[in-house]
């Protein structure tokens, strides 16, 4: 029953609530507010905030900040809409900032 045969998980850095699966990572090459960030196709046990329009490195997007459902730690954001066709693939996907999540190791 070790992690090595189960799903590889990412947790909230603050309270270790499970928020993402390694298999749902689309890209590790994103830039967040505090540094590197990962693009996930799904997120779990998070709360999605209100939508806002924001200018990001890649252009104008409508995003909603996401936070941990247990401790409300801000973890990243969700792409609600992208206004450039090259960025459309991000819609509905989640950004987790690397500094805010912890990879659960095998035990």
């Amino acid at each position: 029953m070790a992690q090595s045969v189960g799903p590889r998980l990412y947790s909230c850095c603050n309270c270790r609530n499970h928020v993402g699966l390694h298999d749902d990572i689309i890209s590790k090459a994103f830039q967040g507010r505090t540094g590197r960030a990962f693009l996930f196709s799904h997120a779990m046990n998070i709360v999605v905030g209100p939508k806002e329009d924001r200018h990001l490195l890649t252009g104008l997007h409508t995003v909603a900040d996401i936070s941990c459902a247990d401790c409300n730690e801000p973890l990243g954001w969700k792409y609600e809409r992208a206004y450039e066709t090259s960025q459309k693939y991000k819609e509905g996907k989640f950004i987790f900032e690397k500094a805010k999540i912890v990879k659960e190791e095998d035990w």
Binding site: G6, H18, W107
Partner: protein, 361 residues
């Protein structure tokens, strides 16, 4: 055991039967299992399965977080540190936590996490955690004041200041294992224990060779309930320590003096005298609610390598305490390496020679 069932098979038919028998409680899926039943099931499986179960869904996670009081992680050989970091915020009701390692993995940040979340902890085993520093002890002092049992044996990186600091906050300590913590145990530490941990019952100071009579005397004075004391390898100890223990610790049951070469007959006679002094009178025992052992005094004494002792002194101790045995079945008076003490025997050996079996114990 599932309520009303003898088989462990939980398929659809079983669920339906359970629904009928629980009269009204609608159980259709795993998530509907009552919390008490879930915890009962988990008490029968190993710790890895308990951890896996706590990640199944929010309902099970919450049930286990509130109900889990005991956890052992010694089976973890890879990344126990990460595992503790991830479990401490979840299992906040833990009372017993066993983290003894074969391969040193645990670091200060994990112990800090325990101290930040598990405030009800009573028993903590951190033995062989070679990587821990004083930071862990300061964290435990602030976060786990209800500790009664703490095992720090083999943790060689602690200092005496940190252990003394811990005793100021963890005043309910009853069992403390500091075996091998050479740098952490000095007379200063023992004085702190004597001042702060007055409920101490069992103390292991094995191989803490820096302690002297001053330390043991403050311990004896401050901890009247002391029952077990291991001073093996504490080479500076002299008769003064044993005299103080004999005077102040009337409940002493087990004393280890292995390799305490300065011990002489004076120590043995002081033990024998205290044994005689503390025996309840013949007419007291019916009114007094004392166990069999209370009346018998010392149950275990290790004087191996205490080569200065003579047979008459040791025999006096053996005669005073009927629970001390040299016979092979119940050997509790250990005298390895004391070649001049081979004539010392417990009463059982004499009885073996009698034709009629005589019951005295």
């Amino acid at each position: 055991m599932v309520v009303g069932e003898t088989s462990m098979e939980l398929d659809h038919q079983c669920f339906q039967m359970m629904m009928m028998k629980m009269g009204g409680v609608n159980i259709r899926e795993w998530k509907d299992i009552p919390v008490e039943l879930l915890m009962r099931i988990l008490s029968l499986v190993d710790d890895r399965n308990v951890i896996a179960a706590s990640g199944v869904c929010c309902g099970w996670r919450d049930a286990i977080s509130l109900g889990l009081t005991r956890l052992r992680l010694s089976w973890c050989n890879n990344n126990m540190n990460g595992l503790v970091l991830s479990l401490a915020p979840k299992f906040v009701k833990l009372q017993t936590l066993i983290l003894r390692q074969d391969k040193p993995q645990l670091e200060d940040n994990a112990v800090e996490a325990i101290a930040n979340h598990c405030h009800e902890l009573q028993e903590l085993d951190l033995s062989k955690s070679l990587k821990l520093t004083d930071r862990s002890l300061y964290a435990l002092a602030h976060g786990c004041p209800n500790l009664t049992k703490l095992n720090l044996s083999g943790c060689t990186s602690f200092s005496d200041k940190a252990i003394a600091y811990l005793t100021k906050f963890c005043r309910n300590l009853k069992v403390l294992n500091l075996c091998g913590c050479v740098n952490a145990v000095s007379d200063y530490t023992l004085e702190a224990i004597g001042n702060n941990c007055n409920q101490m019952q069992s103390l292991n100071l094995g191989w803490c060779e820096n302690i002297s009579d001053d330390g043991v005397m403050s311990l004896a004075y401050g901890c009247p309930d002391l029952r077990t004391l291991d001073l093996c390898g504490c080479v500076l100890i002299t008769d003064e320590s044993v005299v103080a223990l004999a005077d102040w610790c009337i409940h002493l049951r087990s004393l280890g003096l292995y390799y305490c070469r300065n011990i002489t007959d004076r120590a043995m006679y002081s033990l024998a005298q205290s044994g005689v002094k503390n025996k309840p009178g013949l007419w007291q025992s019916s009114a007094k609610k004392s166990s069999k052992y209370d009346e018998e005094g010392l149950r275990s004494l290790n004087i191996s390598q205490c080569t200065a002792l003579t047979p008459s002194a040791v025999q006096a101790v053996c005669d005073t305490f009927p629970a001390l045995h040299t016979c092979s079945g119940r050997h509790s008076l250990v005298m390895s390496g004391c070649l001049n003490l081979t004539s010392v025997h417990c009463a059982c050996i004499l009885q073996a020679h009698r034709a009629v079996p005589h019951s005295a114990h």
